[in-house]
Amino acid sequence: MKVKAGGFSKKMATKNIEELIKNLEKIVEMLEENKLPVEEAMKKFEEGVEISKECTSLLDSMEKKMTLLLQKNDKLEEKEFDLPKK
């Protein structure tokens, strides 16, 4: 499962990190069991390395943002917002 950080919405990205980490842990478990033939183990290992790279780049690709939700006619509208300096 190849994931490119840029092509996904932020929501997907965060969902993916959680899943990717889970996948990563699964791969570690599989390798620890040591029941796979070497070729497959090697493939899984490479997949794991790839996933961890993806996780890190996804984590770094997310930007912080702040908005204000204002109620207008029974709807909340998003406006750019920054906290006034204290």
């Binding site: 932020k10 929501k11 990205a13 965060t14 969902k15 990190i17 959680e18 980490i21 990563l24 842990e25 791969i27 570690v28 390798l31 620890e32 040591n34 070497v38 070729e39 183990a41 090697m42 290992f45 794991g48 390395v49 961890s52 996780c55 890190t56 984590l59 770094d60 690709s61 997310m62 930007e63 912080k64 943002k65 702040m66 908005t67 204000l68 939700l69 109620q71 029974d74 709807k75 909340l76 998003e78 917002f81 906290l83 204290k86």
Partner: protein, 446 residues
């Protein structure tokens, strides 16, 4: 008989009741009174009837629906109250009663009473049950925080969130957090955030204050909205020691806004460290697997190395067999010779039968030759058999079958990785050698 018309001291019932009414209603047009509620009865009209009593006396009382609705707690039997009332006389029955304008709990504050009452009610409805608590997302993509932006709460929260996880969006609802109606506003914000799916976690925050200040967070309206929210809600209301109804209904209670920040986002540094540790774990496991394989290959290799020893043992066995064969033949020949000699002696002794013996000797001689030949042939056959076996294991034998040995500076090449383009290689054939230059290398795929 007394004449009622002339005697002014004699009242009609209605006249007396009316005078009592005027008297009482004027004298006690407004009165503060305290006592305990009993025999509470809420009529269909919404008006509440009860008896207010103390140890010695009791008095019928009523609070009309409109005044009752203004109370922020519920009337209950056994409740000690203090209230503002006027006395009213009900003429058809000549009875008097208290009509309450306002009632407060006596002894504890109304806010406290309201809190206890709401808590009990919602607990009964299962609002606080663990089974309804929703799980927070591992990493939220956006967090909605409902709070007043004039306080320090929002600063504390935002600081912690962005310090722990810089890649998240915070959506702020600037809300009134105290005063009549604040609960409804907050409830409506929660509803809208749900409807418009604006966040995947909602934080409800307010700084510390008195129980009256926090009372909006004890509202049932707000509790309903929190309970019905599909988005998990974290509450951070008041100081760590303050508990509100909202705290109980929310999915997680944070003691302070900073703690709420820690609850809603993980520490990015921690996640990265986790990934790194999984990564190194992965590498070391893989290394272990490969190491095991390598050892296995080595083990197999060492078995291959012992092959010559096996052929050696063949050689030894062959030598042994050959020696044993030849010595057995020698013995046989010696035996036969001996027999021959004895026969000769016998022949000399019995000369007359000499001719006959000669025949016999000839016969025996040919027999003997036949046996020796047979024995020698057998040994020869065995020898060729073992020789071919040995040859099969000999590298020159392998070459004979068409394989070649490739060397680079006297080192045998087994892997294409050991040579590079341009290298001069020495190839050994069954007959003769080749000197070759590498033009291209191909890696065999497994």
């Amino acid at each position: 008989m007394v004449n009622t018309n002339n005697d002014t001291n004699v009242y009609s019932v209605s006249k007396l009741v009316q005078e009592v009414q005027v008297l009482l209603e004027e004298k006690f047009s407004i009165v503060w009174i305290y006592g305990e509620i009993s025999n509470l009865f809420v009529a269909v009209s919404g008006h509440s009837y009860f008896t207010l009593k103390d140890e010695e006396s009791q008095i019928s009382s009523i609070i009309f629906k409109r005044q009752n609705l203004k109370l922020n707690f519920k009337l209950e039997n056994g409740l000690q109250i203090i209230g503002l009332a006027r006395i009213s006389v009900y003429k058809p029955k000549g009875a008097y009663q208290l009509v309450f304008e306002n009632i407060e709990p006596y002894g504890i504050g109304s806010a406290q009473l309201h809190f206890e009452q709401t808590k009990k009610k919602l607990q009964g409805k299962g609002y606080f049950d663990e089974q309804h608590k929703k799980k927070l997302p591992y990493i939220p993509s956006s967090i909605a925080i409902i709070t007043s932006i004039s306080g320090s709460v929002i600063y504390d929260f935002v600081d912690v969130v962005f310090r722990r996880f810089s890649g998240v969006s915070i959506k702020v609802v600037d809300a009134r957090v105290q005063g009549e109606g604040a609960d409804r506003d907050i409830a409506s914000s929660i509803k809208l955030i749900n409807e418009q799916k604006l966040a995947d976690v909602i934080v409800l925050a307010r700084g510390g204050g008195s129980i009256e200040d926090l009372s909006q967070f004890n509202s049932e309206t707000l509790a309903d909205a929190i309970f019905l929210s599909n988005i998990p809600i974290v509450s951070a209301i008041g100081h760590e020691t303050d508990f509100t109804i909202s705290d109980f209904v929310s999915d997680i209670r944070a003691g302070t806004p900073s703690i709420a920040g820690e609850i809603v986002v993980p520490d990015k540094k921690y996640i990265k460290e986790k990934i790194a540790s999984i990564n190194s774990n992965l590498a070391s496991i893989m290394f272990g697997i490969l190491e095991k394989r390598k050892n296995r290959v080595k083990e197999l290799q060492s078995k291959l190395v012992y092959r010559p020893i096996k052929t050696d043992s063949f050689k030894i066995r062959l030598d042994d067999l050959t020696a044993r064969l030849s010595s057995s033949i020698k013995n046989r020949v010696r035996e036969l010779k001996y027999n021959n000699e004895t026969l000769k002696l016998k022949i000399f002794k019995s000369y007359p039968n000499l001719k006959e013996f000669r025949f016999k000797i000839k016969d025996l001689k040919s027999n003997l030759l036949f046996l020796i030949k047979k024995r020698v042939n057998f040994v020869k056959e065995r020898q060729t058999f073992f020789e071919t076996k040995i040859n099969a294991l000999n590298p020159t034998g392998i070459l004979q079958r068409g394989y070649a040995i490739t060397k680079k500076e006297d080192k045998v090449i087994r892997d294409v990785d050991e040579v590079s383009v341009g290298d001069v290689l020495d190839i050994m054939l069954a007959k003769g050698r080749l000197k070759c230059k590498v033009e291209k290398t191909y890696k065999t795929r497994k």
